[in-house]
Amino acid sequence: MNNKVQVVVIGGGATGTGILRDLALRGIDCLLVEQNDLATGTSGRFHGLLHSGARYVVKDLHSAEECIQENKILKQIAPDCIEDTGGMFIATKNDDPGYIDKWLAGCAQAGIETKEISPTELLKEEPALTPDVVKAYFVPDAAVDGFTLAAANVLSAQKLGAMARNYTKVIGFKLEKNKVCGVYLKDKYTGKEELVECQYVINAGGAWAGQIAGLAGQNINVNPDKGVLVIFNHRITNRVLNHLRPPGDGDIFVPHGSVTVFGTTSKVTNNPDDTEATLEEVLELLAEGSNLIPDLKNMRLIRAFAGVRPLYQPDGGQLGREATRDFTLIDHSQLTGLEGLVSVVGGKLTTYRLMAKAAVDFVAEKLGVDKPCITHQEMIYAPVPKNGAKPGEYLCQCEMVSKKMLDQSIEGKGHFSLSDVRRLTRLGMGPCQGTFCTFRATGYYHQSRNLKVTEANKLLKDHIEERWKGSKPVLWGQQAQETQLTRGIYLGLLNLERLESDNNEL
């Protein structure tokens, strides 16, 4: 590859991919590197709520205003990534009625449209809700798919000549006279290391941004903050459900395709890789959520996992929920005199495009490029659209994934895992959690990609292990039963555990 670019972007989450696209649209030569696959950081371990901003109106009006602005733009430019479910805020008889007035005033001020609906009417449309609803409002929330969004950003940038490399980790910076002039990269598949020279580096490492800046001797105060989420095997409500009270734990339900994502919690952690949910955390969430959905404890959970928020505290400010959800651009030359590096931290997925704009405005100026940001005007598209295949062509019936989608999702890729495929197609994300489609996708790729059989065995086992990891904290009820069925198939029936498979560890 070309070992010189103008700008290197670190991090393949919403922010980094948004930056790559913005750079490319301004004609800046750029490369994105991501240590794993796109959106495997927080942008793939989040709630999937395209905020209307209503959650923040009382405490953080500025964030709320940014959210509603971006909410409208993204619905326009990224329909492939968004399911416009609409949202609702409900207050129950146990909630503080005084908060409702403050909230309504905030929404009005931020320009977020609210529409009241009577509890009786609402219960007809959303029968799973608690009968204790006293007030309810519709807001323009929506569901957003972080995997598709990151991939769509990259696709749009690549069409303009930008480059993106996944499974490539930044392991160091090349510094000269107090200026960053390149990054050292390590390919996770081959272990090969190389240097890419550049004029500027944008650190969009999310919760890892502190670690990354540390590689250049910079000390920035990113506080990883862990949030637990659980997934139910069906749509509990048709709209995004929020609890109308000051933001707290376990008060948002987001419907996504055939499932519901519910959460979350907030706990300071010192490790951005701390993404496991514990049984205790899950049980606490469920207890909280039962206030909105009384039957919650009897519903089937299929997974639990955690994401880590990249909260930024300039100088030892608030932590956890009190911390600002605003984003910050850190110009390291201001901080320590180091030129050529800027970090973007904090924020939300909903406002990723604004973060990207701020970072690229800054870097463009440094590079003497005066093209304005146009990311709000150009559409982006999913690389693997849902396409109507002929009956008989679907290998995953939960999420309707066809053979053609399997082909498209690995186009041009040398290595791939079924998890990479899953992020682009939703293969194995539905109620059966990969029990049937993992086997089918393996058989299909083994033949169509001419894989060595030990490679195919590894493809299969890795995906089953990955799905297993998420279901471990929720191994009860129907999920315990489903797990036994999966074990019956892969161990009892197929005897797969005894088959030889490749063991290159990623």
């Binding site: 009956p391 089918r440 297993w468 471990k472 009860w476 315990a480 074990r487 009892g492 029936l493």
Partner: protein, 422 residues
């Protein structure tokens, strides 16, 4: 309603219990909330495939290994059943399978290695006679996939087999060109292949592919009830041997066994009520007197019996309900020891999963007992199959073996009021 023996559960364990009891001349009722797991399982009866479970090599002679297992694992269901009954249950099943019209074969002294739909070889003990074909034959081996079936990939099977057999295995696809508007599963295809014209299409394609005289491995879709006719028709037309490979659920080979066994029991006078869970049980002085079910329109039906067999299939069969920190036995509320951790790190761990080992603890008469006090909890209840504690059928490859043998003993004990002489 009043019976000598009521069997709760319609899986292999329940059927086996009903068989043993009806042979003793008892009036038997099988009640279950649904069809058991046979419909998803391979139809093979694995006695013991790997011992200890972490062993890389399969068990060659299961009968011999049983001796050590019984000594080393006193809590394993086989230790509770005992070797004599295990042998008797297997031999009786072989005889009965002939009478059912679905003859099985195999020997307790030698496991048979059967190819799986992933191309692994799995040790099994009893298998339908129609699958009595050794993968080690001299004939050419061909694996045939059917385009309409999304659950079978011949090249994948063939290459994994090559790796283990060290010889060439040829993959082929055929397309039955059925005009269908959805993905077919094994059961759909098996029904289709009972039609002569569909079958002839398959035969013609196989002839064109030049696979005469070979051993043909094919997914188990060769007929639901008329499998004999389908298989021999193809074998004769091609002068080949056909070996069906059990598929992902629904499993046609499991279906054949479930349906044949049930019909056989019905003909012997066993009654069935399927579709309703046990609603409650009434106890008196350490005995179960009566159970009841809610039938259509919520009518409560009371069922009395001298003795009961509990064969509710564990977690998968829904006899055990797993809660976050507790496991409940559904029918009698028997105590279940909860493992400290439900699961190990790896899905494919050869140790098995702790959750899978959980179940009802029993004494040598298969009566439930309290693991703390060692007290027998119910004297006229005999427990069998996947509801038993102490084993993980999936790593050990013993699911249907435990179901068959413990079911048989539970049925005998229920017929004889809890005492077996000799």
């Amino acid at each position: 309603m009043n019976y000598d023996v009521v069997v709760i559960g319609a899986g292999l364990a329940g059927f086996s219990a009903a068989l043993a009891a009806v042979k003793e001349g008892k009036q038997v009722l099988v009640i279950a909330k649904g069809m058991g797991n046979l419909y998803s399982s391979s139809g093979y009866i694995d006695l013991l495939g790997y011992y200890p479970t972490t062993s890389k090599k399969p068990v060659v002679n299961p009968q011999k290994i049983l001796d050590s297992l019984i000594v080393e694992n006193p809590n394993h269901p086989y230790a509770k059943v005992g070797k004599d009954i295990i042998i008797k249950a297997f031999n009786d099943f072989l005889l009965v399978s002939e009478e059912m019209g679905l003859p099985y074969t195999g020997s307790l002294n030698a496991n048979m290695m059967m190819p799986t739909a992933a191309g692994a070889l799995v040790p099994t003990t009893l298998y339908p006679k129609s699958t009595d074909k050794k993968i080690t034959v001299d004939r050419e081996i061909v694996v045939v996939g059917i385009k309409e079936l999304v659950d079978f990939y011949p090249a994948y099977v063939a290459q994994n087999l090559e790796l283990q057999l060290g010889r060439k295995v040829k993959p082929l696809w055929i397309d039955l060109q059925l005009n269908i508007s959805r993905e077919l599963n094994s059961y759909d295809l098996a029904l289709a292949l009972e039609k002569p014209q569909v079958r002839n299409g398959l035969i013609d394609q196989l002839i064109n592919l030049n696979v005469r005289d070979s051993l043909i491995l094919i997914p188990a879709v060769l007929g639901v009830t008329r499998w004999q006719e389908v298989i021999s028709n193809i074998e004769q037309s091609l002068n080949c041997e056909l070996l069906e490979i059990p598929t992902l659920p629904p499993s046609v080979m499991g279906y054949r066994l479930a349906e044949s066994f049930k019909l056989y029991l019905k003909n012997k006078g066993v009654e069935f009520i399927i579709g309703y869970p046990v609603a409650y049980a009434k106890f008196l002085d350490g005995y179960c007197e009566e159970i009841s079910i809610y039938t259509a329109n919520d009518r409560l039906k009371k069922i009395k019996a001298q003795n009961f067999c509990l064969a509710t299939g564990g977690i998968l069969g829904e006899g055990l309900q797993v809660l976050p920190r507790e496991i409940k036995e559904d029918v009698f509320g028997l105590p279940i020891q909860v493992p400290r951790e439900y699961s190990l790190h790896d899905f494919f761990s050869l140790e098995g999963q702790p959750l899978s080992y959980a179940g009802v603890n029993v004494n040598d008469r298969l009566q439930p007992f309290d693991p703390q006090t060692k007290e027998t909890l119910l004297k006229n209840v005999f427990v069998a199959g996947a509801t038993l504690a102490g084993y993980d059928p999936f790593v050990e490859k013993s699911g249907n073996g435990v179901a068959l043998t413990s079911g048989y003993k539970a049925g005998l004990l229920a017929a004889k009021g809890g005492i077996l002489n000799e």
